[in-house]
């Protein structure tokens, strides 16, 4: 089996592409950063890759709303190739702004980039505080379908966002119920004891007001995932805010890249 290849999509305002590329290479991927204009000119490029990374940043300044304009470009120019990519059994990971782009383009939650499904059932909106926040959170994987983490795993990662409050459209249809029923709730914010606030855990463990403390979701296949926290920012022990206290044994963010690598290498 050849080395799996990862495409790190960048656009004006993407700013976590380099460290994401580094994390991928550390896991064994052959990674390349590609500008969205180049992909729009040559969508067949996607065929060469098994892993699509939509990294963090402020695509187009998050003007209008976070990730909205890049999502629009994907909807208008890349819908077919992206849907084929997902259907071909490949992996997609959207981190922070990438998660926002996935939600607003339709890649999440239903794994389908089409105008009538995009940005209809769920959204990522302003944190309850109304402010950008950079802090570390504890997360628990709640899905047995998500390829990036084993269910029950508890990890630490940093968040850095202003619009990360995950909410689900009220009224028609029970999107939240569907997400939960299909094991699509990938990660939740939890407290020091691994308990989410809505389960009676510490309320401060939810940093932005997300419904049921949801920090990330995956599509029904488990191969396309988006999350607000940044796995690429915890790939070295010294990334952890308490590493000088000792006892930090593992750089938790590496799990995402290592598991994707294993999954794709085994085909």
């Amino acid at each position: 089996m050849t080395t799996p290849k990862a495409l790190v999509l960048r656009a004006a305002g993407t700013n976590c592409d380099r460290e994401t590329e580094f994390a991928l290479e550390q896991a064994g991927f052959e990674a390349r950063r590609v500008h969205v204009f180049r992909l729009m000119d040559k969508p067949e490029l996607l065929k060469d890759y098994q892993f699509l990374l939509i990294p963090g940043g402020f695509s187009y300044g998050d003007d209008v709303a976070a990730g909205k304009i890049l999502a629009g470009q994907m909807l208008q120019r890349l819908a077919g190739p992206l849907n084929e990519f997902v259907a071909a059994g490949k992996c997609v990971l959207g981190i922070c702004n990438g998660f926002q782009v996935m939600v607003k383009s339709g890649l999440l939650p239903w794994g389908n980039v089409t105008a009538d499904q995009a940005h209809r059932d769920v959204t990522l909106t302003w944190n309850d505080s109304g402010m950008f926040v950079d802090k570390w959170v504890r997360l628990r994987c709640d899905s047995d379908r998500c390829v990036f983490l084993p269910k029950g795993e508890v990890i630490d990662l940093p968040i850095a966002h202003g619009e990360g409050k995950f909410i689900v459209r009220g009224g028609d249809g029970d999107a939240l119920g569907r997400l939960k029923g299909d094991e699509q709730v990938a990660v939740r914010y939890v407290d020091a004891d691994g308990k989410a606030a809505f389960e009676g855990g510490c309320p401060d463990s939810n940093p932005n007001g997300s419904v049921e403390d949801i920090a990330g979701i995956c599509d029904p296949s488990g191969r396309a995932m988006g999350l607000m926290p940044h796995p690429e920012r915890f790939v070295d022990i010294t990334h952890h805010p308490q590493w000088t206290r000792g006892g930090v044994q593992r750089a938790d963010g590496r799990l995402f890249f290592d598991r994707a690598f294993e999954y794709l290498r085994q085909g």
């Binding site: 305002g13 380099r18 003007d63 402010m131």
Partner: protein, 1060 residues
Amino acid sequence: MKEPNCQEVAELTATHRIEIRPQEGTGDPQGAAVAHEIAELGISSVSHVRAVRLFFLFGDLSADDARRAGDDLLTDPVTETAYLGSSPGLDGGAVIEVHLKAGVMDPVAASTETAIANMGLAIESVRTARRYELIGDVSPEQCETIARRLLANNAIEEVYFDAYTPPAAQGQSYTLDIVDVPIRDLDDAALEKLSKDNDLFLNLTEMKGIQDYYRRIGREPRDIELETLAQTWSEHCIHKTFRSDVAYEGTPIPGWPQDEWRVRSSEMLADRKDAILASLANAGIYDDSIPRVWDEICRIAEEEFATGEAIVSLSLEEETIGVRVNEREVYGGQWVDMDGKPFVKLRIPDLLKTTIFSVTEQLAKPWCISVFKDNAGVIEFDDKHAICFKVETHNHPSAIDPYGGAATGIGGVVRDPMGTGMGARPVANTDVFCFGPTDMSLDDLPKGVLHPRRVMRGVVAGVRDYGNRMGIPTVNGALYFDEKYLGNPLVYCGTVGLLDRDKCFKHPQAGDAIVCVGGRTGRDGIHGATFSSGELTHEHETEFSHAVQIGNAITEKKMLDVIIQARDAGLYSAITDCGAGGFSSAVGEMGEELGAEVHLERAPLKYAGLSYTEIWISEAQERMVLAVPPENVDRILALCAAEDVEAIVIGHFGTEGRILRLFYDGQVVGELEMEFLHNGLPRPTKEAVYEKADRPSPAPPDRDSYNDVLLKILAAPNVASKEWVIRQYDHEVQGGSAVKPLVGVDGDGPGDAAVVRPVLASRKGVVISCGLNPALGDLDPYQSALHAVDEALRNMIAVGGNLARTALLDNFCWGNCNKPDRMGSLVQAAKACRDAALAFETPFISGKDSLNNEFQTDTGETIAIPPTLLISAISVIDDVGRCVTADAKAAGNYLFILGRTGSLLGGSHVLKVMDLPSGTDVPPVDLAVSREVMEALQQAIEAGAVRSCHDLSEGGLAVAAAEMAFSGGLGVDLDLAAMPDGEPGLPPAALLFAEYAGRFLVEVTPEQHDAFLRIVKSCPFGELGQVTDTGCVVLRSKTQTLIDIPAADAKAAWQQTFNW
């Protein structure tokens, strides 16, 4: 208030107004934040606020088109609803709409325009605005207050109290009109008037220099030539105050001047006579004494020749002047004036060169690659990479528009590393702010001044939005509050960049194309360079609103992305940023040795109507200038086009006679010799006076307990937690964060310095720290500057920095240095920088000054800022895995203090919270001991003998101990009787709270106890006690308990102040 005029507007063009309103029940944090701030203003009648976003679409769009744009693009369908048209008025409330003034840059509008065009709609332009619906019983006067105080900035925005639809933005056309400015026949008064009327900020000497030049070449200047001279000669661009000669009178400055002549014969001595006599006179020895001193020198020297060499030396020591020959005193004793005070007269040539430049030269560190030459100072990082660092100020623009001023401050300093050498990639930002007190009553504000709370919110938001969008971690900073910053808030922004060792120098060539890359040129920011050279007055808010700049971080990020690719492909031979002064400064600097021709009509404009002069001096943001060999021009233009970055050739470098020649539509509109432009500025002599006051501080009365004093100091704004600010900055982007600005078991304790790994595959790191002591600036500028250097280095050492690989940056913000007393304290501080850098062997590599921070109130009162010196330190370390943080780690570990403590309390927090007036008795810094302590501590950290370490600064030992304890979720128990050999019988207030420099509190495990002692044994140290699991901060002196409080209470006090 303006009346809405929708009808008329609608006839001009197809206009659609779209309101994006929050849906009920999904939250409206923006509205809630405004409601909170209204309550802070003391207006209680507003029950809640709805924040509505407004978009105005201009172009050939149907209502359905507009609805589609509203629904599919502008609205979040889960949380918001779009409405086409205007909402009806509000029952039981008021409406405030805030619209940008015409011509003010609107990044959201620009992105929206592109996105709507991508939908296939015939959009021509977009404008945006904000609407606030205030629910509650609010009077028109209250609305006015809310709008003015909170929501809108008069300098860039207009307020409407009803639905308003603006016209499409339109520029006027421009017809070339070349303007000559007659100057040759003007008298002094008319020259000064010309400078003032045209905001040139050139003084009479400079205006006369220009007049002489034009008389010589036999013509009148063009307006564009005067503007170019004004910009190039501005304080901002050339540091003319700092580089002037100084005539100093006043308190002797230790160690200065210092001259030495080695002679071996009477003939050699006679040859040196003039120089020696001049030096004696320069040192202030009275003329009538000089012959006697000279005779004495000759007599002793003759005796010494018998056995060999004679060294004639002259030095100014602590308030004495010493003339010696081979250590034999010729002349000595205290030098005094008529009143018996120590007094000298000195002439100091080129102050900056004599002090800060010279120390770097003297230290001659081989790891300094480029200092004081380029846009940032450059030092070695590893075999392949170099690191550069620059810190700038953006004070005056931030005073007028805190958000835009601070954002463009960070945007501007980011372009400095980008324009250093062949271009560096920014890897970290720093920010330091000084504001007026945020709890000040609105009624006490001078006219024309924004409330400090608003300034702070705006500045923090500006740095946040620009830095976060650029993807540069903001890792280090400081906040300082003082009433004297009311009219002149200070905004320091710094950027660290990474570049290849073989790309540290630029070499523009004759024939290279001048390529302008990035943003478009507009009328924004005209006169920023000259404006920052002048004093602010209460009328500046309106007079200089055109100097306000609005940034667009994404334009800059796009530009950075292509520049890094072009750099790595080797497509250009030089690069620099369009900083203050725009094209004028960029082309003028890069073409200094070559000359240049520029065709101004080629520059892409934001809107039509700019004159050739406006294009030339516009300070529109996000632009860089490249010198591109002709064969690479097409490739670079294609590279930019591929990522939607505008790039255009506006001229070329290289003219006969090094002429700068400016064209518009083929006509020459201005011509200047580079020689005159860069070397024609007359170097003035500045007068400086300084008299050290000698006023001791009162002794605080002894008390049984100092618990409340400690809590008050922890809550003091200059000490309290800045978490509210820090968390809004992305300090981890780029994935190199190793020590964060907040540390400890809960990630919310104070960090001393930041550590980042700029090369992800390497363990090497850079430590970034700062030091700032404005409280001491007015008391003793010399000691204050020593404290600033010591503090920056302390913070750096405390996390594991390497003193032998540390460079310093200076940023002086002073009052108006045309006033001799301000200049006098500047001389003192600059000399202190030199002495400190020499003692620590830490060279300065870059600096910047802002020497006109005074504010004229409408009542004629002048408020000068305290002398404010920011020292930034950057240190290269081999392994970030050896770093330590300040949080206490485990009960049972030992706590040591390093460094000496004395009884002086000048400028300390303990006096302030006990309401006692401070004297001028600032604790003197013992540079030698401080260096010894730092070197020992560095060795101990490198040896792995230190578990945690915190520097002692504001609030002294007690504050440091409390911070260590609560950051670690633990307690401490310290006995101050074990303080090292300072003065005996120190009073408790000094033991606990004195702010002596060069001190650290260090945690050591029992296993490392002896190893640590072996390393520090030659330093002043004391074993004070232990970390405990009691959760209490206990400080005692023998049997007396001075402080005993729960660490949680200390933390609560520390956190409450900025818990906004």
